[in-house]
């Protein structure tokens, strides 16, 4: 089976599952067939737009997200508590800084996941991406050190290659 066919089938299955979960209609043949037609229509449209590829349907990444997502959520929770503590403390112990980190991912999708993971974590924002260098603004020196230790970089590279 060619990769394009594999991606198309995966996208169709994803669209069908999303349609079923969103609508909640399981047993009306008319609505189900209309839903199937909608999914097929969307599939044809995005194929014409040439979006059905390893970036648009990232099949390789999805299973590994099971490991990455909980880790990221826990990092975000820890960062939330830290930033909340600093905002609420009377003298606000912040030390904003700006620095560049290297993204070691090989493609755009990996770099987007990395830059967005940095931004999602409170206390660090990716301000600018140029090639494989990300300009990061951090609320504190500690948050900046956390990014420079590059654990997140390694994990995203393991995720997206």
């Amino acid at each position: 089976m060619s990769r394009a066919v594999k991606h198309s089938i995966a996208l169709f299955v994803f669209l069908a599952v999303a349609w079923l979960l969103w609508s909640g209609f399981w047993d009306n043949p008319l609505l189900l067939s209309l839903g199937a037609v909608s999914c097929l229509g969307v599939l044809l449209l995005v194929r014409r737009m040439r979006l059905v590829d390893a970036e648009g349907v990232p099949l390789k990444i999805l299973p590994k997200l099971v490991v990455y997502a909980p880790w990221l959520i826990w990092e975000v929770v820890k960062a939330n508590v830290d930033v909340a503590r600093r905002i609420l403390s009377p003298r606000m112990p912040i030390s904003p800084c700006l620095f560049e980190v290297k993204a070691s991912q090989s493609d755009d999708l990996g770099r987007v996941i990395y830059a967005n993971s940095i931004t999602l974590t409170p206390g660090t924002i990716s301000v600018h991406v140029e090639g494989d260098v990300i300009l990061v603004h951090a609320l504190t020196k500690e948050a900046a050190d956390g990014v420079e230790e590059a654990e997140m970089d390694r994990r995203v590279t393991g995720l997206a290659g």
Binding site: L21, I87, P90, P96, A115, P122, H128
Partner: protein, 108 residues
């Protein structure tokens, strides 16, 4: 009964983080640091409120839709934050730094 209490705790904790984000938006000194404050509202504030609603909704399609909202937020909020920060940076806004030679303020 237990689900009511759990969902209430999540909702209150979520509201606390959303409120703290708002306080940060006012207290922090400049554009870039304020974005870090707003990140609290986008992440744990929104997530805990969604979690509280999921616990209240139980094992239903409503919970599936709440999960979808969470996924949408996790994808769109960092993208929007990055677009905002990049635009400010490219238009020459300089981030606020601690004055030269001054230590990080500490409590106590």
């Amino acid at each position: 009964m237990i689900t009511d209490v759990l969902s209430g705790i999540c909702l209150i904790a979520g509201a606390f983080f959303a409120l703290t984000g708002g306080i940060g938006l006012i207290r922090l000194p400049d554009f870039f640091t304020r974005m870090h404050g707003a990140a609290l509202t986008d992440t744990l504030g929104a997530w805990l409120i969604l979690l509280g609603l999921m616990i209240a909704a139980g094992f239903t399609l409503v919970t599936v839709k709440l999960i979808m909202i969470g996924l949408l937020l996790a994808l769109t909020s960092p993208t929007a934050t990055h677009a905002l920060a990049r635009s400010a940076w490219e238009h020459g806004r300089k981030p606020w730094m601690l004055p030269e030679g001054e230590d990080v303020p500490t409590d106590g």
